[in-house]
Amino acid sequence: MRPVLYVLSFLAVMALGFWAYRENYATQSALRDVTDLQNEIGSLRESLSIERAEWAYLNRPDRLRDLATVNFDRLGLLPMVPQQFGEVAQIAFPPAPLVTNLPIEGGEMVSGTLPVAGEQTP
């Protein structure tokens, strides 16, 4: 009985040692991953702040004004004036939607061929 116990406990120690070894390396690699991710987050934050600065730089009022002047032919943008405020009543109602699926009463059967595209019909 005793030798069996010895062998079993030896095997248990080996198994635990193996488990501890693997856990150790798994932890270290997880820590390395975390470090990498945090570095990546840091550099992304940095580039985000640069993007925001660039966005603000490209949208600065001076530049937009110059662009509006340069592209006046196409855009026709002018500074906003009080006359551009309107009343809701000034906006036209959208055209009524076309009524489809009317019930057809007293229709006739018509038969024939549809003209082919591009072909002259008399």
């Binding site: 820590l31 975390v34 470090t35 991710l37 945090q38 987050i41 940095e46 702040s49 640069i50 925001r52 600065a53 660039e54 966005w55 603000a56 730089y57 949208n59 600065r60 009022p61 001076d62 004004r65 002018l78 500074p79 906003m80 004036v81 009080p82 006359q83 551009q84 405020f85 309107g86 009343e87 000034q90």
Partner: protein, 595 residues
Amino acid sequence: MTRTPLRPLARILNARQKGENPDSIERENLRLRHEVMRDKSRGSAQLRLVVLALSFFGAFTLIGARMGTIAASEPVEPRTASAGTEIDAGRADIVDRNGRILATNMLTHALYVQTRDLIDPARVAKELAAIFPDLDEKTLLRRFTDGRSFLWVRKVLSPEQMQQVHEIGDPGLLFGPREMRLYPNGTLAAHVLGGSSFGAEGVNSAEVIGTAGLEKFEDARLRDPAQAGTPLVTSLDITVQAAVEDVLASGITMMNAKGGAAILMDVNTGEIVALAAGPTFDPNDRPANPTSGDPSDSPLFNRAVQGVYELGSTFKIFAASQAIELGLVTPETLVDANAPMYYGKFKINEFEGHNYGPMLSVSDIIAKSSNVGTAHIAMMIGGERQQAFLKSLGLFDASPVELVEAKGAKPLRPARWPEIVTITAAYGHGISGSPLNLAAAYASIANGGIKVTPTLLKRTEPMQGPRILSKAVALQAVGMMRRVVTEGTASLGDVPGYAVAGKTGTAEKTRKGGGYIKDKVVNTFASVFPANDPKYVLVVTLDEPSENTGSKPRRTAGWTAVPVAAEIIRRAAPLLGLRPQVEAASLDGLVAVKN
């Protein structure tokens, strides 16, 4: 435990038989008992000491060992902590009221040299001088070889310059990371933002410190690491600010002025929506403070806050509204306005020697800007009450706005207040203030009489200040100012749809030695719009303008500051979301815009 009796009967009897003293037995037993007690208490005391010593030893060992490991090990960041905790070493951004960026940080690099590592100092000096035209090759070479080991070359580099320096390829050239303050909008709101520069510099980082304006006033808040992630929200609106600066700059040019200032303020909250001063500068490349000459000639000079001028007739509305508040007059009361008026040896004249008298109603005094009429109103009020009222409007103290420059711009007023000062102060002579002081005072009237504290930071609630005028009087004052625009001195200031009310002011500049300079004036137009429900106050000040389209130069506010203010309102009011009120947009108007 069994207690041994002190006098055991057997031994006592025995001793008596032998003729001994039985007391000695008692003493002996007592001694033995004391010895036992002493031994026992010594033992427990020793035990206590040992336990105490052991616990102290354990505690000191533990602390010592921990200190030792901390001291001996390499410092590392706690890597397992979550990344959500944001501790930003940078300076907080500054944004406008809608979150658009006014100031932010950018990562860049500084260039420094370790001269001992330089391989070929002569070549490095030559190539650096080629990259940076402002560096001199000979000076660089002398600095590389005069024995110093360390040398800063540039505080910030652009990425292209950094690449070029890399390509020199000398191991003595090194880069240090830098957070650089960037103002992406260039000159926009330059006088509000102020500027920043590097404080203490190290190889790995440098601190950014505010040098002027909001950057310096809020320096502690902007540098606080706990708040670095949340931007400082100002009350400015970039769009409105840009429009105001645009119009002001063309106004300064067209009116041949030396400079100017414009302040647009929300009357209910005291928020400054736009604050412009001209000439302006680029905070990214802030010029050095002027060391000689008049500081007010420098573009750094913020005329809106630092410019302490006599604001002239814009003060008349204060006298009129106070007199109505005190029940001395109503807007229709007739007041003596027969010019010129004599007070002792002083003669009080109207503009260009007019005489609007003999009698004028209070409302007409404001509309026509009569000095004499205002003087009579002021004499009714009296000096003490006048001083108290002007003080309650904040015209005696430096403006409490969040700019470092504001503290130094204390309004100038006479130390003594005889009646002649009462008279002249009523029409804004002999008392000076900044345009911002004036804007806050007008806002206090326009919002129905609640004192306004101007601010550059976003507020969400209306002002909770003390009441200085009753609502009815404030309304009447705005009504009188409306007449200035419809039929008085500011007729060019009418903007259809926005019912502008306001008061003009023209003051001659004072000479350094005393006295006034005739052809150098400061023109101010303080306006309120829309008059039926005031929302905003706009103060436009032009420094030494002259309008030269007529036969002779015109230097009154009605000809210079008023048209500029009208144009600002025309441009800014739609941007502020104010809908024109009197006439709805006619179809003709729409067609005209299309064309």
